[in-house]
């Protein structure tokens, strides 16, 4: 294990914004921190980077306790949400600055900057200022800077949130190729469950500064441990049926099927999505979302059912999974 957070806590004033967080990220593993805004995921990243210091617990990188080490000395490669490129410097100078202050020889600087520019296909932009670059190009410069840091840990803070959907899809394989296939642990903060599932080996879902569940995307999708995780992972959102004798039953829209016999429902709305269509149903158990093949012509009144194996059950009080 290369990055270990032991019982980390962070307090602002008297309020704990993060508490009792345990995480382990192996070399070459990508862990996504997923959660709504204010859940503590960015705080966690800042603690690992050393931009804030933990109020309790310790952080180990390669077995070394770095809890008290200043950010300057931690050897962290971070991509900021805003990219945080130095606006007064050209792309090449942006990339050079860190190398220079870390005492790398001029020839070596040149060589490394040139090779990273080539790797990122940024050669022609070397003399431009960040303001003259598009969002995607800026993001690549930010990635290049993180690569040149030669870090022990990569931290990515919503690296794609400022890009349009098309560009995100294009950049995902590139990001995987450049950083996720390395030998360092990668922590990837996002509020987009789709991105987390696409990029990460494991996902940690955070809520109100606490770890809700951690596991592979499959585990989180197939066996969410709380109602919160169930509704956060998977789109369209899971159906939560009204609680009966303290038990909430949940069923994913893709597990709801049209059937000859079953619950009679009325169609309220249909979103045709190309490969599938999402139907909003009014059923005796409340509103239901159903995802079905886009080829089917759907009448106004339908009968639906699902296999009971696909149901998830949660305690309605605690929100925890039963079974």
């Amino acid at each position: 294990m290369s990055l270990i957070l032991q019982d980390i806590g962070r307090r602002v004033g008297r309020k704990w914004i993060l508490r009792h967080l345990q995480l382990e990220v192996a070399n070459g593993e990508c862990l996504a921190l997923l959660g709504p805004s204010g859940c503590g995921k960015s705080t966690t990243l800042r603690l690992i980077a050393g931009l804030d210091l933990a109020d309790e617990g310790s952080i180990l990188i390669d077995g070394q306790d770095v809890s008290k080490v200043a950010a300057v000395d931690r050897r962290i490669g971070m991509v900021f949400q805003s990219y945080a490129l130095f606006p007064h410097l050209t792309v090449a100078a942006n990339l050079c600055l860190g190398l220079r202050v870390r005492g790398i020889s001029a020839a070596e600087q040149q060589h490394r900057v040139a090779s990273v520019l080539a790797l990122m296909q940024l050669e022609e932009f070397a003399d431009r200022r960040p303001a003259q670059l598009s969002g995607g190009q800026r993001q690549r410069v930010a990635l290049a800077r993180a690569l040149l840091r030669d870090p022990l840990v990569y931290l990515l803070d919503e690296p794609m949130s400022n890009l349009d959907a098309q560009l995100r899809e294009d950049l995902r394989p590139e990001l995987r190729r450049l950083i996720l296939n390395g030998n360092q642990p990668v922590v990837y903060v996002t509020h987009d469950q789709h991105e987390a599932m696409a990029m990460a080996d494991r996902i940690a879902v955070l809520r109100d500064g606490q770890l809700e569940q951690i596991g592979t995307p499959q585990e989180l999708y197939l066996k969410p441990s709380t109602i919160f995780v169930a509704s956060f992972i998977g789109r369209p959102q899971i159906n939560l049926l009204p609680a009966q004798s303290g038990i909430v039953t949940a069923i994913r829209p893709e597990d709801v099927h049209l059937s000859e016999e079953g619950i009679s429902c009325r169609i309220i709305d249909i979103e045709w999505l190309g490969t599938s269509q999402l139907c909003l149903l009014d059923s005796p158990k409340g509103k239901l979302r159903m995802l079905c093949n886009s080829q089917i012509k759907i009448p106004e009144n339908v009968k639906v059912k699902w296999s009971s194996e696909k149901e998830h059950h949660f305690n309605s009080e605690s929100g925890h999974r039963i079974n």
């Binding site: 931009l51 950010a71 000395d73 490129l85």
Partner: protein
């Protein structure tokens, strides 16, 4: 709409520039024509005033040089102290920063003329009289509140991410200031420098009391001396010529840096 606006602008320009033009006009007039403004004698236009000022002992450029030395040294000293102070002020907890800013505003509002006797005592005990560079101590001190407040708001406006990115790149505090933060507050630094320079260029009471050797005088004191050279007449012409000559370097400075000054002064006014 545009026409009324133009009229306003013209009125404003006349209001603020006419004394200057009057001074320029006066500087080219012979003493006789100044007394008889409407006579049409052939001796109206003259360069005599300038000649008189420039060939006096010590020549006028000496005062320009003195003022420049004082201006540059006090501006440098101010920036040297104000930049780190402003950076710290922008990074300490907000409550403490507010208190410090309030105190500095108080200091800035204090009429400094009241200090000059005390300052004179200091100059005497530390032997700082008749020393051009020594003038930069009181000047820097007096400019400090304004400089720190201006620069602190500029530092405050920089995105925090930039400094944090620099930290993660391994830049220590001084390296961050040198390579990232100071270049980025350049416009605010330029406008602050101009204001400090302007203050020291125009300052009168302290310069009057700290300097007595005639070859060390700064412009305002020197100009005042020209005005008081004779008991029987007021030498309007040379006086006007001296003010025009004294204003030219400043005018040039402001012209060169006007873009930075405006962008520095309005920094933080509008969130981009």
């Amino acid at each position: 709409m545009i026409r009324t606006r133009n009229i306003w602008i013209i009125a404003l320009l006349i209001w603020s520039l006419s004394p200057l033009f009057w001074q320029v006009y006066t500087s080219f007039c012979s003493p006789e024509s100044l007394i008889q403004p409407l006579s049409n004698s052939g001796h109206r236009w003259t360069l005599d005033n300038y000649r008189q000022v420039l060939t006096a002992d010590p020549p006028f450029w000496r005062y320009l040089l003195n003022s420049a030395i004082v201006g540059i040294s006090s501006t440098s000293l101010t920036l040297l102290l104000a930049i780190p102070a402003a950076y710290s002020l922008s990074r300490i907890p907000a409550k403490l920063a507010r208190l410090v800013k309030l105190l500095m505003l108080g200091a800035a509002l204090f009429p400094y003329v009241l200090l000059f006797l005390a300052l004179l005592e200091l100059a005497r005990s530390f032997n700082l009289g008749n020393n051009l560079l020594a003038l930069s101590f009181p000047y820097a001190a007096l400019s400090m509140p304004l400089a720190v407040l201006l620069l602190a708001s500029a530092f405050k406006d920089l995105p925090v991410d930039l400094e944090e990115a620099a930290k993660l790149e391994g830049l220590g505090l001084w390296q961050r200031l040198r390579w990232v933060l100071i270049p980025l507050v350049g416009p605010a630094t330029a406008s602050t420098s101009i204001l400090v320079f302007l203050f020291s260029w125009n300052e009168y009471p302290i310069a009057l009391t700290w300097l007595s050797r005639s070859d060390l005088l700064t412009l305002p004191v020197a100009i005042a001396r020209i005005a008081g050279t004779s008991v029987y007449s007021i030498p309007y012409g040379p006086y006007a010529a001296a003010t025009v000559l004294g204003a030219l370097p400043l005018l040039a400075l402001v012209m060169i840096f006007q873009r930075q000054i405006v962008s520095g002064l309005t920094q933080g006014a509008v969130k981009g």
